[in-house]
């Protein structure tokens, strides 16, 4: 369990998250991709805190703030999904063509 | 080191779970008998007889359930009860996991219980089970909030999130007296979290058994044992957080913890038999409008008490 292996694991999670966020047509699955990206980011932050940061408290604080941001993003994302569904009966990204050129 | 750190705590927790589940079943039948329900057979043998009978029954199948989740959910609930019981300190040094953040671990047990009960209701692919699971999730979020505020109030005088420290801080005065709102709120949370009695919305009679309406045989046995085990784990946490844990005069520490757990179990089972079930809509109003502000007041009280 060295810093390198932890960062590789975080990179893998972020890579899977990018795949999910870009490839999924449904809003909720897209958000799950974003959650995976944030998961990888949090793991990387804690790995840096444990190995390179000498346990400076700002590392843990960053992780807690990212957790709070995750909750905020999920809440607002679901509210927007509900609002879009009520307005346009749309549950896939393909149905939202208003800004299409 | 492997023996004392891994095997002994696991054995301790398993022993307490089996004994505790048996005691819960017996106590429930005794209380039901005291209230006039007819008893079939002797009270002390009845849980064993029912367990043996359930083991021989056929495990029911519905149409296209989520097999892995359905069969795993009772076992996962039992595992969560075991984790909850593992944080209860039996004396200053006898505790299965002395994690620094054991109060938050108990909170995560409550949150993961929501997941498991929803899975149990969802994966049966049956209507009443699904309704039971949804009802539990709708109210489970409110219990978790109230329980965390009450437990933060308990952790404040201890200046630590460790249950051993929480118990040690009650040397002068038990938390049930020092924070009077805490134990009643926590007992209500316990009834809700283990969906027992008045707050039994997940497995209620009006849903013909709710999340347990489609299971029979060995899965049903594991589910019933898991529910009793979660009651035991909850009573252990309540005894440590509010009733002073291992503290008491002549008897040894672990015996005091067992006596206090028994007292909390008696109160919970009595309330389960005496109070009628609350309708879900009223429950939501009750939780968010009455009990949550009360838990805030309890937290402020605990904060003022810690500052003075």
């Amino acid at each position: 369990m060295t810093l390198t292996t932890l960062l590789l694991l975080a990179a893998a999670l972020i890579g899977i998250g990018i795949y999910g966020a870009l490839s999924q047509q449904s809003f909720v699955m897209l958000m799950m991709g974003l959650e995976l990206i944030l998961n990888g980011v949090m793991l990387a932050a804690v790995a840096f805190w444990a190995f390179s940061g000498a346990g400076a408290p700002e590392g843990q604080l960053l992780t807690i703030i990212v957790m709070a941001v995750m909750a905020i993003e999920m809440a607002m994302g679901f509210a927007l999904v509900v609002a879009v569904f009520r307005g346009k009966q749309a549950d896939m990204t393909e149905s939202l063509t208003g800004l299409k050129h | 080191m492997l023996l004392s750190e891994l095997i002994l705590p696991v054995l301790m927790v398993m022993f307490m779970l089996t004994v505790g589940a048996y005691v819960v079943a017996v106590l429930d039948r005794l209380i039901a008998g005291a209230f006039g329900a007819p008893q079939a057979g002797r009270v002390w043998l009845a849980p064993m007889a029912r367990g043996a009978w359930l083991m021989t029954q056929h495990a029911n199948a519905t149409e296209a359930p989520d097999w892995q989740a359905w069969r795993l959910a009772p076992a996962l609930y039992l595992a969560l009860a075991a984790i909850g019981l593992a944080v209860v300190p039996w004396s200053e040094s006898l505790v299965a996991t002395d994690l620094v953040t054991s109060v938050v671990l108990w909170g995560s047990v409550e949150a993961l219980a929501t997941v498991v009960i929803f899975l149990h209701g969802w994966s049966a692919n049956a209507l009443l089970a699904l309704i039971g699971g949804y009802r539990y999730v709708a109210l489970g979020l409110s219990y978790i909030l109230i329980s965390m505020f009450v437990l933060i109030g308990v952790a404040l005088p201890a200046e630590s999130l460790q249950f051993t420290q929480v118990v040690a801080s009650q040397e002068a005065l038990w938390n049930v007296i020092r924070q009077p709102l805490g134990l009643p709120l926590f007992l209500i949370v316990g009834l809700g979290m283990t969906f027992w009695g008045p707050l039994n919305l997940a497995d209620s009679k009006d849903l013909a058994g709710g999340t347990a309406s489609e299971i029979s045989g060995p899965p049903r046995l594991v589910w019933d044992v898991a529910r009793a085990a979660m009651l035991v784990a909850f009573s252990g946490v309540a005894a440590s957080a509010f009733l002073g844990g291992w503290m008491g005069p002549w008897l040894p520490g672990p015996l005091w913890v067992a006596i206090k757990m028994l007292a909390v179990l008696l109160v919970l089972l009595l309330l389960g038999r005496v109070l009628p079930r609350i309708a879900p809509e009223r429950c939501v109003t009750l939780m968010w409008v009455v009990l949550l502000p009360l838990s805030f007041i309890d937290l402020v009280w605990a904060g003022i008490g810690a500052l003075l």
Partner: protein, 206 residues
């Protein structure tokens, strides 16, 4: 930090669990299972954090992610067409680009992990992470903490406003018409009936 072989084995199994369940999230047919696979991935990462001596963060991960993934599962059931996975489903678009982007992201970050020289200042064994986090949050970083709280409150209010049935001019069922069942179609619900009996004939009221 020197870890024993037990911790390394635990870490490797948790790492594979996190990556495999993270990948299964996007490959499974059942939507509820997808959100709970994501929960398992989060729990694996939480246990790794506990192994790294960040005890509060790991347990807080279990706690928060359990409830968040349950809410996500509920939204899956609400908005997705195949929540139980009884039919196979593959709703993806621009799949090659996204696989490419994922692999490029992993390679870039992995290259940074392998090639960059990070300082070696391990956390000391006598650090109490919970105590130091608490002192930091309520001491020097109190402003960050408080503003995060205010942002959470704003989010709660915003979410309720966005998803509420009440608009500025009253409840939704009173003054407005619901959207159509097809885009651009007639409003859903009963069509308004023209009362023709009231126009002709009948008694006039003075």
């Amino acid at each position: 930090m020197n870890h024993g072989i037990g911790i390394d084995i635990t870490f490797l199994s948790l790492a594979t669990l996190a990556v495999v369940t993270g990948w299964r999230v996007f490959r499974t047919d059942s939507m509820v299972r997808a959100s709970f696979f994501l929960l398992v991935s989060f729990i694996a990462v939480g246990v790794i954090m506990i192994l790294l001596a960040a005890e509060y963060l790991g347990v807080a991960m279990f706690f928060m992610m359990a409830v968040e993934m349950t809410v996500m599962a509920l939204f899956m059931v609400m908005f997705m067409m195949n929540p139980a996975g009884l039919n196979p489903m593959n709703m993806v678009h621009q799949e090659r680009i996204s696989i490419g982007a994922g692999i490029v992201g992993f390679l870039v970050l992995g290259a940074m992990a392998l090639l960059a020289a990070f300082p070696d200042q391990p956390v000391s064994a006598d650090l109490e992470p919970v105590r130091s986090l608490g002192n930091e949050m309520l001491g020097d970083s109190m402003l960050i903490f408080e503003s995060a709280g205010i942002v959470l409150l704003t989010t709660m209010i915003g979410v309720v406003v966005l998803s509420s049935h009440r608009g500025r001019y009253g409840a939704a069922a009173v003054g407005s018409l619901p959207p159509g069942l097809e885009p651009g179609g007639d409003p859903a619900g009963k069509p308004e009936e023209k009362d023709e009996d009231e126009e002709g004939g009948g008694h006039h009221h003075h």
